[in-house]
Subunit: 652 residues, 2 copies
Amino acid sequence: MSVGRQPANDALYRVVVERVYPKLDGGRYPVKRTVGEQLTVQADIFADGHDAIQAVVRFRKVSDKDWWEVPMLLLGNDRWAGTFRITEEVPYLYTVAAWIDRFGSWKHMLAKKLAARQALRSELLEGAALVEAAALRAGQNEKDWLRVQAEKLQDNSESEAVAAALDDRLQEVMLRYQRRDDRSEASPPLMVWVDRPRARFSAWYELFPRSAGTSAERSATFTEAEARLADIAGLGFDVIYLPPIHPIGQSNRKGKDNSLEAGPTDPGSPWAIGSNTGGHKAVHPELGTLGAFRRFVAHAREVGLEVALDIAFQCSPDHPYVREHPDWFYRRPDGSIHYAENPPKKYQDIYPLNFECEDWQALWQELLSVFLHWVEQGVRIFRVDNPHTKPFSFWEWVIREVHAIDPGVIFLSEAFTRPKRMANLAKLGFTQSYTYFTWRTTKQELAEYLTELTQGEQSEFFRPNFFTNTPDILPLGLQTGGPGAFKIRLVLAATLSSNYGIYSGFELCESEAVPGKEEYLHSEKYEIRSRNWRAPGNIRPLVSQVNALRREYRALQYTNNLLFCDIDSTEMLAYLKLDPANERHLLIVVTLHPFQSREATITVPLDRLGLRRHDSLNLWDRLSDQTFLWHGPHNYVRLDPMLPAHIMEVTR
Amino acid sequence: MSVGRQPANDALYRVVVERVYPKLDGGRYPVKRTVGEQLTVQADIFADGHDAIQAVVRFRKVSDKDWWEVPMLLLGNDRWAGTFRITEEVPYLYTVAAWIDRFGSWKHMLAKKLAARQALRSELLEGAALVEAAALRAGQNEKDWLRVQAEKLQDNSESEAVAAALDDRLQEVMLRYQRRDDRSEASPPLMVWVDRPRARFSAWYELFPRSAGTSAERSATFTEAEARLADIAGLGFDVIYLPPIHPIGQSNRKGKDNSLEAGPTDPGSPWAIGSNTGGHKAVHPELGTLGAFRRFVAHAREVGLEVALDIAFQCSPDHPYVREHPDWFYRRPDGSIHYAENPPKKYQDIYPLNFECEDWQALWQELLSVFLHWVEQGVRIFRVDNPHTKPFSFWEWVIREVHAIDPGVIFLSEAFTRPKRMANLAKLGFTQSYTYFTWRTTKQELAEYLTELTQGEQSEFFRPNFFTNTPDILPLGLQTGGPGAFKIRLVLAATLSSNYGIYSGFELCESEAVPGKEEYLHSEKYEIRSRNWRAPGNIRPLVSQVNALRREYRALQYTNNLLFCDIDSTEMLAYLKLDPANERHLLIVVTLHPFQSREATITVPLDRLGLRRHDSLNLWDRLSDQTFLWHGPHNYVRLDPMLPAHIMEVTR
């Protein structure tokens, strides 16, 4: 007769732990947090039979050996959740463990028998055995205390024994010391990458330093551009982001408005990188020296601004790489180098790099050294140009290498491409990401997109950075919507996303476009500009005000704390920004119509503010400095384009 | 200046393969199929830049070394899918691989330049190089042919070179032989477990053999029960399932209707297993010998029935294990053995086994030997009683061990418990599962539950077996709905699920319940019954007819080929069962009202039948033998409880 094999020593487990969340692509990629943020971990956890379960989230710093634990609670349908807080700026590991709660199961059975008035003696002796076993695992103080409790459970007086059994402290101590050798644990542990706070909260101002002077006839220098820094800091920004600052090629240089022939004084596009004066590690001579750049960075830091550099891995035909490493480029059969093209278009001023050329390891190492070079000059934020046109594997590698040297370096992905490619760049290491915000303008588009960004799995790794405009994008709404549109998009960007940015000129409501396109006319990409930064019609006061509120309210320093409210107008948006510390919540209402006033009834989800249905709300609009007293959830609001938003602190 | 490390040799990849589906708990559990079924594999696949991608599903038998490939096609949003068919009854591995389609990318660029009337010479030379490189990888015939094509691409006549470039055969051959050394592959490979066809298609008839005789005064024997087999086979069933056939304990035996005191002639519950004549490997002496059982199995096989045994791992106090292995049970502090209890209820006739006792490995091995014992007697289907009250790890181990000896053994999980526990039992190895079908009675409940079972991830591993009734469950609807209700539930069970079953007496419309409960009065669990199997009011003709249609129509032999149709009555259900061979589709309409007629307009999704909007439909109702001619998608149907369903073959 067949008997079969004996089971292996480790074949027995009682508790199943499955579907741990968050877990990106099976644990291949870490989730992201900053110091002070929480991580809520969920899992399906269940066992056979009727026993109770104890479950915990275990976490530790990667560099530590000891694990910490927080209890998980049952949400329902065998789904459990537990939350821990990130307290240090280092990567953490987390996992889920669960075991049979033998004491809890026993206590539950005892209570049922007690209710049924059945004999308890045998159960109490079983409980005493559990407590005695736990005493062996407890610290000295609790060891003695547990032994006393075990004695009580065996007491001749059943009522005293039962009282000891149901004592809350016994449960609490037993949860710590009962056996866990039957523990099931999700494996392997998952990682949470922890960035510095600026990864989560930043206001960017994009500036062409050559246009920062007082003349459009010649390039301003870094030294001249320093004069703009105090003003930009005064507007409340924290990051000043510069398009490429490197030497610009002469060959096939583009002229004004992207014309094929450059005039003799046309400065060229900063993205046509490299000339005989140097490449990606050099500074354009017209901007100054590397030393001047370092002084610019230092001066910016003094006024509270951090400099972000644009890294665009492509070369003009005059880049030193072309001469020194022609094998790093795509070669035609006749040996010449391929320029970029998208037939019928030809980009003869740009040579793409071949990231999978024979000599790719040397190329990648050189490109890594570009980042490290600028880190050495004091730059810790990089806006990366078109990362989706280079291998994902390159970014995965280069970001990891830079972070090995300085884990605080921030990478912003400028990928306007298909959703899964954008998500993958964020997963593999980019700290922040450009988004579709520029093209999400209606109420429904904004609500759907923000829900996707802040409520789904993306919220665990994809940090949006909402730019109102860029040198490449003057959205249609800004071309036609006048100052109202600029104010609306400013408030939306700055309050829907804790990372946002504007490209200089936005505050002046510049809106002149190439007809039929979302391109700026007289684009700074191809010519030097000079502006009156106090020109009439500017919205500088609103910019300052909004940025000041972002600094004042913690609720605006996070992105995923967003909750849309019902409002019965298709052209108004209302949302709560909840304070993670549960102190100063904000209710924000924005009209989307740039020309006419709009009114509506808003329904505030009072329960999410810890209020009851008939409670009153005190609202203090920080933009208009008005106060309102609302009764109950339904209330009237009216906004017009002069001041198209309420940013209201909510108190009871 | 920092230079940074050189990337590892394997750091470069271009294509990302993510989110492979199906993939159960990260690949821990296999998906399930039977021979002839397809497996559609999906994945997110994308690369950087603008290059085209080639993607395949790779699959092989676990025992083979060579992989087969089927191409994947882009569904949209970077989601790809490919399908292969299972042709042998062995486990398979599958994975997804993708690489840059360099020839396709080149051809796309060539076509764009051609359209833009740009110079092509350099592109054609690049293409020739690609083709020459592929020739080195091609078989002898294609090698020469490819070399000729490479020559043509370098031809002086551009028009001839272009014609060669755009030739379809060149594309087809190049897809096979172009370089794939940049391939990305999902790892590790995933498994599909392949069961024999009965795992997918079976009609079960549950029978207490002791009640199969002509007298309620004494137990029938297996030999007497053989007399019932031809009749049951004639009704069209293929599995005859027997409650436990083992010796029944005397201690604390339950009497009629689950009373605490058994009378001297009460036979006891078959689930109180074990007496001094033996345990789980023995046959109750009143049923006969092991030899008689083997003859019963053989006789059943002759008439086309396969015997399924109930395995209930629990013991009566008289079971030999209690004497020989008291340590396999739960012990009280006084050394006595725990009976089952759920206060205030006590089940003193049942001792649960302690699957995590000190000696668990010996216990598990013994329980494995129980399965193997019955496999040796010719049994290859087991209905497992309450598996969710024993460790999941035990089932995972024991099913794997049985399958190592006979991979064709079928395990039906009788777990009526929370959804994730039921799902886990199916994932870890159970072939089929009891369901909530018995309690899904309204149109919405049925539609939602069937959608969950057939359209979601569960369809990959959870094979429902829809029982209309069991010895434990006489649903409320059958208690009060009369013959109409029995007919309705029969048709629903037999056509919504390719695995279904009835417990004997159903065909006689037996409906007498313990008042206020879903329990049978005079339950066969506690007494011997004797029935007139031709009693007036029986629905045997409909049972035979439905089972015959199940054998005739392949569409009824699969479960996941279900598509609900819109029908404007809340008490009617309409659905298509699509023939996997796309030949004989069925349209099924069922009224849910057991007493009154119902009429409605049904909307048939003609496109899913390969028809156009104004096509006519010929419908042949196989239950009433009527034919209907319908024009267009919207049509009138009327049903009454005498024959509460249409099962209609659809032809054009």
